[in-house]
């Protein structure tokens, strides 16, 4: 390890690769196929521009790539499966090589899936890669979403991409559900059966919609072919389209980066696509594919031969959808039956409808509008390319964890029967507990997360002002012990002090000159309240003068300073005017507007 050095031997190895493009062009003019292509497309300039694009390095930026790659893997393996899968509900007698089903009447879809699993060499492997790939696809989409959320990467100018991503995650879940239903086994058939119940619960049009979807009475002969065309044609086309736009926006916006020395809102620091990210991202595709293939070699998924063919009479214990639909299934388990009622002889199935048909658009709708709500509340209309460290946005982090908690409660509720057996609990108690947790959990989670974030900010402050704990304890002549704190270097310090800590928006005038509260003022009051909710608890980042003071006065002074803040905030604006950043002020005064 040494510092920068022009005479590095390895640099010599790269001598041939580097060098100004112009000179290289003289040496080797663009020819051959590439030249032929450029003659016809003029693609050389954009290509070289694209190849020089810079991507910052962070493991969490790879989460989206896991999603992208597992989607591609599903597309590849899915094409394989279509060669043998028969999307038909025609009843046939199974005569393949799986003995415990021989002679049973099954649908053609089920038989062909059994054939893929047992009679086509490597077919089961491809099926398992496809299914594991689908599971990890949705998993990584969700984890990627949480990363984007907690770091505030959805802020201007990336709101559109957040909405596209939200749409993608919903489509991914629906695409998964459609695919999960295709084998027409007992478990997935039960899933379709439940879906039919959801659709029927739609007020006014439910029964018609159900008959439209199923082409008649459940299950009919149409649902599998229709789901097939949705699964292999419609949704993949939309997914790939939206996904392309999603990626395009990443290129347009350039990737966000975490704050750090040298990283500003006006630059992006990282490695170029050619060659570093070509190798890293390209290699990562193979890693993701490899891991999924290795797991598919030794871990079974969806053993449809065990479930048997679909038949409305039998059912298996532990009937659950794949995990990404679990939250809706859990919501259905928690909704109490008394919510169903009748008016004028019409049935309102409010014990089903809100937890299924309504829940999906509701959940993704809330996720989708969040950036706009936050920017309205915070009054922040600037472009942001530096990510927030989650702790520096405590209210957002709290909201996020609260949402995840509510989601997780629903998700876990869908496994309440298995939890009951494995933990030897009563399923009824568990259901009641989940009902309670759904309401209480998010509140506790919000409060706890916010507190933890504020504490972490305070710890950061301490670290900046008093240095890093070294673990070395000194004993002074007067007998007292003290741990030695090492001061941070400017590079170490920067990430801890660069953030801003906005104050709540203030209303400058609440009524017009005649004392009549304007409707505008009412809206703005709500906004000010929300802004207060967002920013009233705040820890200001340390300033150079504070650091100076800490050096001069020693620890005691600053300890007391830390404790004086009201609302558990360290409001530096009271003490040092120069550090306060006056936020936008809301003026609801109509007169001034006109």
């Amino acid at each position: 390890m040494s510092t920068i050095n022009d005479t590095r031997p390895a640099e010599a190895l790269r001598d041939g690769d580097l060098g100004a493009e112009q000179e290289r062009a003289d040496v080797k003019p663009l020819g051959g196929i590439a030249g032929w292509l450029d003659d016809r497309t003029g693609g050389a300039k954009p290509t070289s521009h694209f190849l020089k694009k810079v991507f910052p390095d962070h493991w969490s930026f790879m989460l989206g790539e896991i999603a992208m790659y597992s989607m591609i893997i599903c597309l590849l393996t899915g094409v394989f499966l279509t060669f043998w899968y028969v999307p038909s509900m025609t009843q046939v007698v199974y005569d393949g090589s799986y003995v415990p089903l021989q002679g049973i009447t099954v649908s053609d879809a089920y038989r062909s899936t059994l054939n893929i699993s047992f009679d086509i060499r490597g077919g089961l492997l491809i099926r398992q890669i496809h299914h594991w790939g689908a599971l990890i696809f949705v998993v990584s989409v969700f984890v990627h979403m949480t990363r984007v959320f907690f770091t505030g990467a959805f802020r201007k100018p990336r709101e559109i991409n957040w909405v596209l991503g939200t749409l993608l995650s919903m489509l991914a879940c629906i695409e998964g559900f459609a695919g999960y239903s295709l084998p027409d086994d007992l478990l997935s058939g039960t899933g379709i059966r439940a879906m039919n119940g959801f659709v029927q619960s739609i007020p006014v049009v439910g029964s018609y919609v159900s008959y439209f979807i199923f082409g008649g009475a459940f299950p009919g002969e149409a649902i599998i072919p229709r789901l097939y065309s949705v699964h292999v044609l419609l949704l993949p086309a939309v997914l790939v389209g939206v996904f392309t736009a999603h990626i395009l926006f990443v290129v347009i916006h350039k990737h966000t980066q975490f704050p750090g020395p040298g990283r500003t809102n006006n630059n992006v620091v990282g490695y170029p696509l050619m060659p570093v990210y070509m190798a890293k991202a390209g290699g990562f595709f193979f890693i993701v594919f490899g891991i999924i293939a290795l797991v598919s070699a030794v871990v079974s998924i969806n053993p449809i031969w065990g479930y048997g063919p679909y038949d409305p009479s039998p059912i298996t214990a532990g009937s659950q959808p794949d995990w990404y639909m679990g939250f809706a299934d859990g919501a259905l388990r928690l909704l109490p039956g008394f919510l169903e009622f009748q008016t004028f002889g019409f049935t309102w199935s409010m014990n089903i409808f809100p937890g299924s048909i309504l829940l999906l658009p509701l959940m993704w709708g809330i996720i989708g509008v969040y950036p706009f709500v936050e920017s309205w509340v915070t009054g922040d209309k600037r472009e942001h390319h530096l990510l927030d460290r989650p702790r520096n946005a405590p209210t957002r982090a709290g909201i996020g964890v609260a949402g995840i908690t509510a989601y997780t409660v629903l998700l876990f509720a869908s496994g309440n029967d298995l939890m009951a057996i494995k933990l030897q609990l009563s399923i009824n108690d568990l259901t009641q507990l989940f009902r309670l947790l759904f309401f209480v959990g998010p509140v506790i989670a919000f409060w706890l997360t916010k507190r933890i974030c504020l504490s972490l900010q305070r710890a950061d402050r301490q670290k900046v002002l008093h240095g890093r704990e070294t673990g070395t304890i000194w004993r002074y002549p007067d007998g007292r012990f003290e741990e030695i704190h090492a001061p941070l270097s400017p590079f170490e310090r920067w990430a801890l002090v660069q953030h801003e800590s906005p104050e709540p928006l203030r209303i400058s005038a609440e009524a017009d000159e005649n004392g009549v509260a304007s409707p505008l003022a009412r809206v703005e009051r709500v906004r000010a309240k929300l802004s207060h909710f967002y920013f009233s608890d705040r820890v200001a980042p340390p300033t150079p003068s504070e650091l100076e003071a800490a050096h001069h006065h020693g620890d005691e002074v600053d300890e007391s300073h830390l404790l004086t803040g009201q609302h558990e905030a360290i409001d530096t604006s009271e003490t040092s005017d120069s550090s306060s950043t006056p936020r936008e002020t809301i003026k609801a005064d109509r007169k001034r507007l006109t």
Partner: protein
């Protein structure tokens, strides 16, 4: 007759009458009931041994005469099959109060269990321990057993159909078990002997309903047993089964293991080389 008339209103009279009635119907039933069950020779000796074991181990809950108490049901008429199942799987004697007797270490040897069963069988007629005829799993193949219209393989498949309609809703498609209300559960069927499965079907232990011979014929029960045997011993074609618990365990695996591996790779990828 006067003495009889006088005792007619005696409190014990009802009990005597019920006992008589039970004896008559029981006797009649045991005379008329199909005899396939009496396979093991019951000697007076084993009954006596059984009674001794009963008094020492079971009577505290089931009563001195197995008539049942507040803490244990009557065993009159439950039959030898019930005893063989409950004691043979270690569910009885019960270790402590619970919503449901869990499967446990078996506390008696085979001889003692059959002695206990023989004793309980003398209390009233009930299903006997099945002989081997219907508890031997069918060997898959294209040949047909005597009196069967289906091949052996097809009979196993039909056993699967019967299993899915009658059993899978509680015991899960692969016999991995499932939850019932208020902490009760349907136990896993993997590793349970065919005889015990048969006995459970005919006696209906605990929450389980009875599947008597008019509901599922002995041949049908044999088919169910054969199906369970087939899936129990089949190759794990896809690999690890994750407990055959369906999408929940698969989802958990994807979240923890698959995502864990991928994040580990991503962290390695983003870390500066030495």
């Amino acid at each position: 007759m006067k003495a009889l008339a006088a005792r007619r209103r005696h409190p014990a009279a009802i009990a005597v009458l019920i006992l008589l009635g039970l004896l008559v119907t029981g006797g009649a039933y045991s005379f008329l009931a199909p005899k396939q069950a009496q396979a093991t020779s019951v000697t007076a000796d084993s009954v006596a041994t059984g009674k001794k074991l009963f008094l020492a181990n079971c009577a505290s809950c089931h009563g001195l005469n197995a008539q049942g108490t507040a803490s244990g049901p009557s065993l009159v008429g439950v039959g030898a099959a019930s005893v063989d199942f409950q004691v043979g799987t270690g569910r009885m004697p019960l270790a402590g109060p619970a919503v449901q007797a869990p499967q446990n270490k078996v506390k008696f040897d085979e001889e003692q269990i059959s002695a206990l069963a023989a004793y309980v069988a003398t209390l009233g007629p009930g299903p006997a321990v099945p002989d081997g005829e219907y508890t031997t799993p069918i060997v898959p193949g294209d040949e047909k057993a005597a009196g069967q219209s289906l091949t052996n393989s097809e009979r196993i498949a039909r056993g699967g159909e019967i299993f899915r309609v009658n059993c899978a809703m509680c015991h899960n498609f692969a016999g991995a078990g499932g939850a019932l209300t208020r902490g009760k559960y349907a136990p896993a069927l993997t590793g349970v002997t065919p005889t015990h499965i048969y006995e459970a079907m005919v006696t209906g232990p605990q929450s389980m309903p009875v599947f008597n011979d008019t509901n599922i014929t002995p041949a049908g029960k044999q088919e169910v047993i054969s199906y369970l045997d087939a899936i129990d011993n089949q190759t794990n074609v896809g690999g690890m089964t994750l407990g055959n618990l369906g999408p929940v365990s698969e989802g958990l695996f994807a979240w923890i293991f698959l995502l864990g591996l991928m994040i580990a790779s991503a962290v390695w990828l983003g870390k500066k080389a030495a």
